[in-house]
Amino acid sequence: MDLLTLITFSPLVGVLAILFLPKNSKDAARTVAAAATFIPLVLATKMWMDFDTTTAAYQFVERVPWITSLGVDYHVGVDGLSVPLVWLTSLLLFLGVFASWKIEQGVKGYMMLLLLLEVGINGVFCSLDFFLFYVFWEIMLLPMYFLIGIWGGPRREYAAIKFFLYTLAGSVLMLLAIVGLYLAVDGRLESPFSIPELSALVSSGQLTGSNLVNEGVLFGWPFLKWVFVFLFIGFAIKVPVVPFHTWLPDAHVEAPTAISVILAGILLKLGTYGILRINLGMFPNVAPDFAFIGAMLGLIAIIYGACVAMAQTDFKRLVAYSSVSHMGYVLLGACAFTNEGLNGAAMQMFTHGTSSALLFLIVGVAYDRAHHREIDGFGGLAKLAPVYLGVTSIGMFAALGLPGMSGFVSEALVLFGAWQTYPVMASLAVLGIVITAAFILWTLQRVFLGPLNEKYDSENFPDVTGRELFTMIPLAFLCVLFGVVPGILLDILAPTMTQLTAALGGGG
């Protein structure tokens, strides 16, 4: 077993261990979960260290035949796009265990589901076989449904089923696209699901689907266009891109803190990862037809998400909508097809992963103490919780893209990239930054500044505890680190993104 297999499947050992723990052993379950998420974190760190940043080729590749009757391989490998995301997943799941320490009901089940979720997420990022990719993609759904549905807030049932149905509706379309591709390959590849080989075949223009439909045209559209659109819808629901976004605020608001962290930090990135890896990487000859629409959807998400976030009174909902807005940058940057745009998009995925995860932890801290999330129900907390204010400021400034923070670098790159292709859209996107700054500063002001809300004193609103700090400090550190030395991240992204830019025929 090699590195990626160990990273992906080591949490399963934790699942088994927890399964055989006695019934009420809560602390043991927590400890086992912490250990089982720590192993992938260590291994992923080692992977990042050992990763060769001079090449765009897949590294740490493992390939063994899995299902011979369909030509499916167990084929995993990582490149510059997936390495940071695997590492971020491992980090957030590890922190997630500590953020869930206070969960008292059904701890064993909770921790097992959390570990299963990690297997699914890391599996998706590592898969280089489309079939394997899909299996991991779907494995995530059920744990997530239970984590929101059992341990969530008052409207958890609704939120959980909405999340599940939206995602499933997208993923069945994706399944059809995968099956269609498989049939279109028609025996020309030994491993018809291999993502690199499929990409090569599709980009070379040899795969048209003409063996399936007459001259490769189906209902007036080329076969590949349909495949592209079906895949895009599947990924767009996960991002979520604006017309498909309504599951997100509900899921976020009802989910327990740690699950919101994972949802915002990682699960949303799966959608954009799919768009970059599959939609753009596999279909560089189809993608230009949809670039304008994609960029437009990104812009709409930026402006709309920011405006709706501004109108929220619920702290968590506000952060959720700000995620919609921030994920719009990823789409806008990706669809610009320029080197800066793609680098910015990939970096934004990571930086938003850290800053939004931090913001959800911050909301969790306030909720644990006050048992509500009304922004106007706080006020003057700076006096009671100065450390809390400090951490919150870092998270919020990173989210609004203050220079020196990680969000600034990625958003600036996206805007540079988009400017070269869509100057009008890039200028309008700046408006999104302004609105974001407005609602974030306004929120900071309403929660922390002004006179202290009489309801709170040092008894019922103590400053952050050591455990809470332990979950927040690493993320805050990353927000600053990648703002000051973005090169660490960009170096690893660059070869892969350069290759993708060249494939898409973009400049820069």
Partner: protein
Amino acid sequence: MTPEMIADLKAIAPEIWLVGTLLVTLIADLVIGKRSQTTVGVLALLGVSGALWALMGAGPEAGPESGRAFGVLASDGFAGFFRTLIISAVGLVILHGMVFRELESATRNEFDPMLIGAALGACLLVSTDHLIMLVLAMEMLSLPSYVLAGWQKRERRSSEAALKYLVYGALASALMVFGFSVLYGVSGSVWMTDVGRAVATQWDTGSALVRSAIGMATVLVFAGFGFKIAAFPFHFWAPDVYEGSPTPVTTMLAVASKAAGFGVLVRFIDAVFLGETISADWLARFGWVMAVLSAVTMTYGNVTAVLQRNVKRLLAYSSIAHAGYLLMGVAAMVTLSGQESPINLGVQSLLFYMATYYFATIGAFGCAMALANRFGVETTDDYQGLGWSAPWTSSFFVIFLVSLTGLPPTVGFIGKFMLFKASLDAGLFWLAIVGALNAAVALFYYLKVVRALFLRGDREPVEGLVARGFMPLLAHASLLLFAVAVVYYGLMFDGLSAWVNSALL
């Protein structure tokens, strides 16, 4: 005895085992039935295991040289596939019926011979390509099923179920036999292959009258098969019967009876309509009709299942939906039959889906029975919070429902994958999209059960009736085994594929 006769007898050894078990259990009931509740059941289980063993022992090479026993029973891999599903399903139904008692104890013992009789009919039905034998086998399956549906005779809804089933069943049989007689009139033969040859030539060259006779006969025959597989618009009996019957019987009807129906349907279509000489025009029309039936059946089953609260009834409607999915395989099989290809993807996907449906449905009904037996629950409202009292059974239930939905890493996903593959390959793009979107609808109502088990209720463990002893252990072990199999075959299905490929027509 001549060697041919011995070979013939060997080919039907499983059926001989079933007949023997039938007689032994009947006599055992007379002699010791009053004193022992379990003896008859154990005997029946042993007999069914024997039949299964005989079936496993007989590879395709062990059959008679002509490929058919006594001239009318094909001993091919196709028949072997369906007989394995049917016999093992009935064995599990007997086991679950014994442990998760729902039947009146006084009449418990006659239950097993009835089930075995139905299994015998089902086995003959999937083996034969002789129309008269087919009718006999169909009745042999149906008559015990009518009795079984009304087993709890003091319960109003059980009697109603039996009566409804009988009336619809009799009508369907009559229509089917009438259809056969028309086909006999057209072809002068009761062999499917001869009928097929005659139909092919008459469709191309015959008069308008003959052509319409063939069309009418097709519709009539499909009424008979459609009734057995509970496909729209011949499904009206299914929800009431599934709900009213004791759950073991429901399982039998949903799995064994449906498998037999699909087995004979596929064999009939393959022999009669997909001969080499049939015209492309006929194939296109026929494939289109099957595709429409498939889409309507699955959509109807899924949409009405959404409204159900009674878990048995919910699973009944879902099994109508699954009949629709299986028909997707039939549609692909018909459409693809014109192409030159070593294997017909349609048949392959249908058989694969049948196997996945078998695992998940028996498992789901088994879990429903286990919960009903332990807590006396029947509707999703009663199920609330039981996941915290019976975590294992409930987790298995979730696995089976996920498989029925068709999500990885369960075998149900592979079943759906195969079906989508076949229908896309057949150019039935719209059907594949309908099937895919139906999976999302299905998820919604399967999750109703999951939601009740785990998301609702006060999450405090409730005391239930816990049966101890060897048989309950065996029954629970069978659920565990099926849950493991559902996940295992979802990840490693090469073995299952090989088995399916050996069973293609």
